[in-house]
Amino acid sequence: MPAEADPVLAALSDQLILATVLLYVIAMLAYALDLAFGRAPAEASAAPAEPVLAAVGGAAAPAASASQREENGDTALSEAEETSEAGEGAGGTQPAPKPLPVWVTKAGTAALALSWLGLVVNLAALATRGLAAGRWPWGNMYEFVIAICLAAVAAFLLMQLRYPVRFLGAFVVGAAALGLGAAVHALQVEAGPAMVALNSYWIAIHVSAAIAASGLFIVAGACGVIYLIRNDAAVHLPTREELERVAHRAIVIGFPIWTFAVIAGALWADKAWGRYWGWDPKEIWAFITWIVYAGYLHARATAGWKGRSATVVQLVAFACLLFNLIGVNIFIPGLHSYAEIPG
């Protein structure tokens, strides 16, 4: 590893970050425009398969008769899932479409294009930073925050390809812009070599997984926040059921990745610190985060805590995740040497 960073690349990286912030901010405004004046998502976003499910789902129960399920050892929990799924689909009230001015229909598309561009620039910023320092570009908190913002926007844009979740854009991309701004403002340190303990290929495995999972959890968290602040008059926002479903999807993908990240962390700790688990503050909070997300999955899967309670649990888990990223690095001393907070 070189002892000195390449100053040209490092400066380029700093400028690319500023460009990313700018792109994200403009994208956020375009999303907001789209949200405020665009088509109501209940209509725009209904996936083709879901109305069918909604229409017939309720009738499905008699079709596969109750006694039949009994003899097949079916658990009623799956029925609960089905009926709720049906209920969710049916939940969206569909206002009549009204004609829209062109600039409004274009706002959503422009927002998406800007976000993709921002994502590319964000990635370039991270890559040049890594090249400048000659190592993986997540060796301190500044870089870590940049990578998480990237992951959140990427998670949102990829989900958006498959599911109608454009409404999340204003929130996720806005949060990313804020996060990057805060990183530049409060966390920036000169590019350079990382702490000795971070010289390991495990940084590529463990930290990348943690970043990817965090990106997905941010998407879920955004849904959770919208869920709580949404009032019934907000026809431009998707229904609560829709929000919950998107959050659940993001968590179902993010949770195994987080599990993997924690295990990879244990493997790394086993190499670096002489034990695979030692209740270092960072480990404690990764564990708490994991347990609370597991609680969320339980709550949703079996205990029938859907809706608001599940959302609250999800947000508590998200708060634990954020605390682990910010609070533990800054306030609690431990072995994890990410912090490197300036000044």
């Binding site: 017939v56 050892g73 702490m195």
Partner: protein, 525 residues
């Protein structure tokens, strides 16, 4: 019965909770077991588990940050005493913490066992008969062509459905892996707990500090601190030994991060068995030495300057290295204590500041500006004569002379100029002299044997893989009904039991039913 939360079960649970007054011992036990293994209890225990870990990140924990625990005791002994009474410095060994996770895992067993039985039964059973009216299912399609029951069954089997047939119908199901994954995941968590327990009982951990040129042999006596599990036999320690031939640390020389370490490496000459030929091993952070599963880790390093001390009688009372405590990791400004127990006529205690890269500072002070040993000096800032109290039987830290003892000693020197290597300071009153003879480095090692490591890894990998199946696989059923007579058409219906959209997959199943083995190929008729 299967332990899942069905609405009915919730009711019966509530009823059971309301009724325990009339129950006998067996009834109580049953009520307790049902409550313990209910999903709601599991959820509460999960949250308690998370909640109970929080104090572990608020208060310093023994074995993780012992020095900070000591600081609590120094700052406010009474408070520290109280915190200790609630195990707040040992949260993860606390009985209340153990109670939570033991209950949780008991609940887990109570939950998983009956579900496993049910799942095994279900695995042997055939999918249920087709409902009469397929058009009322969430997914429904009319098939083209005249499909026979046998042909439909064959095509569905090819899609890896489990298939059963009846007169005029085919019933197919797949996605059993979801429940299999879910059960394996929970079992793997149990396995992980067992592996951790085995490691704690049959493993050991020790710390030792080794100075360049010195050796270490893996016996209990050689450790500075040795923490065995309850079942560890002192004779069973892996009998390896090594010598620390050299230690190198490199630092960033310029810029903002000047002084930050770039790399450390310790060159060891390792002998795996007594008398075995030596091999060299380069020990680094992230690259432990592995001798048959006993791991040696490089945790820390510092300076160990060497001194030659002559006493009042003109005899060499001490000659060797003194490991120093690092006071400032950015510059490796260190403090060393030399206790010369053999000095005559009185024992000597000498406090030295070690500066690896010395430059003069304002007010006649000297400071270190870099962690590397570019210009090492040793500055005596306290030399005392008298009884050091080392024979009292009270163990002393090698890094300090206890203040109450220091008070009783006779001060000889309170501040001297820094000595460069080879320089000597004469102590006043003919008490002797101290010569700074050279610089060595020490490394702090941790040596660990944990027989639970591999099982824990296997359990975690199993848990992750099983979790992926549990979360991504869906149970789904497809039925086909084949009508009779020349006009009748075949139709298909399907549903998924655990949510998510099934439409796309159902469409491809219908295509496969229509076109046989090649769902992608257009019908040639």
């Amino acid at each position: 019965m299967t332990v899942t939360d069905t609405p009915e079960r919730d009711d019966s649970e509530k009823a059971a909770e309301a009724r325990p007054a009339k129950l006998g011992a067996v009834g109580w036990a049953r009520w307790f077991w049902r409550t313990l293994t209910s999903m709601r209890t599991a959820l509460i225990l999960l949250f308690l588990f998370a909640l109970a870990s929080i104090p572990g990140s608020i208060w310093p924990q023994r074995g993780v940050s012992d020095a900070m625990v000591g600081q609590y005791y120094a700052d406010d002994p009474e408070l520290a005493e109280w915190l200790d009474r609630f195990w707040l410095f040992d949260v993860f060994k606390a009985p209340w913490f153990a109670a939570i996770y033991l209950l949780l895992f008991l609940s887990l067993i109570g939950c998983v066992l009956p579900r496993t039985m049910a799942h095994l039964r279900e695995l042997r059973k055939k999918p249920p008969a087709a409902p009469r009216n397929l058009s009322r299912l969430p997914q429904h399609a009319v098939l083209d062509g005249d499909l026979t029951v046998e042909e439909a069954a064959r095509r569905l089997r090819r899609l890896r459905f489990r298939v059963t047939t009846g007169p005029g119908w085919v019933s197919a199901e797949k996605g059993y892996l979801k429940e299999t994954g879910n059960l394996l995941f929970h079992v793997a968590l149990l396995g992980l707990l067992v592996a951790i327990g085995v490691g704690a009982l049959y493993g050991y951990r020790g710390n030792v500090l080794v100075v360049e040129g010195d050796g270490f042999a893996n016996t209990v006596a050689a450790y500075d601190r040795y923490m065995p599990g309850q079942q560890v036999n002192a004779e069973s320690l892996e009998p390896f030994s090594f010598t620390l031939e050299d230690f190198q640390a490199t630092y960033i020389a310029k810029g903002d991060k000047r002084g930050q370490a770039l790399d450390y490496s310790a060159k060891l000459a390792v002998s795996d068995l007594p008398g075995a030929p030596e091999r060299t091993y380069e020990l680094k952070v992230n690259e432990p030495l592995d001798v048959n599963g006993t791991m040696t880790y490089l945790l820390d390093h510092g300076y160990a300057p060497t001194f030659k001390i002559t006493d009042g009688k003109g005899q060499v009372a001490f000659e060797g290295s003194v490991p120093c405590l690092v006071i400032d990791p950015a510059t490796f400004t260190s403090e060393c204590v030399i206790k010369v127990a053999d000095a005559q006529p009185e024992q000597l205690g000498i406090l030295v500041a070690f500066l690896p890269s010395t430059v003069p500072a304002e007010g006649g002070e000297w400071v270190s500006i870099f962690p590397g040993a570019a210009n090492p000096t040793a500055q005596v800032y306290g030399a005392f004569a008298g009884d050091l109290g080392m024979r009292d039987g009270v163990p002393q830290s090698v890094y300090e002379i206890p203040p109450e003892i220091q008070k009783k000693l006779k001060p000889l020197v309170m501040k001297a100029d820094p000595l460069a290597v080879g320089q000597k300071l004469d102590l006043p009153g003919g008490a002797g002299s101290i010569e700074f003879t050279g610089v060595k480095e020490w490394i702090a090692l941790q040596i660990t044997y944990d027989p639970g490591r591999m099982p824990a890894l296997l359990a975690s990998v199993l848990a992750t893989v099983a979790l992926v199946f549990s979360l991504t696989v869906r149970r789904r059923r497809v039925w086909v009904r084949v009508g009779e007579g020349p006009q009748a058409r075949a139709e298909a219906g399907g549903l998924t039991r655990t949510g998510g959209d099934f439409g796309e997959e159902f469409a491809s199943v219908v295509a496969a039913l229509n076109h046989g083995s090649n769902p992608g190929v257009k019908d040639a008729r």
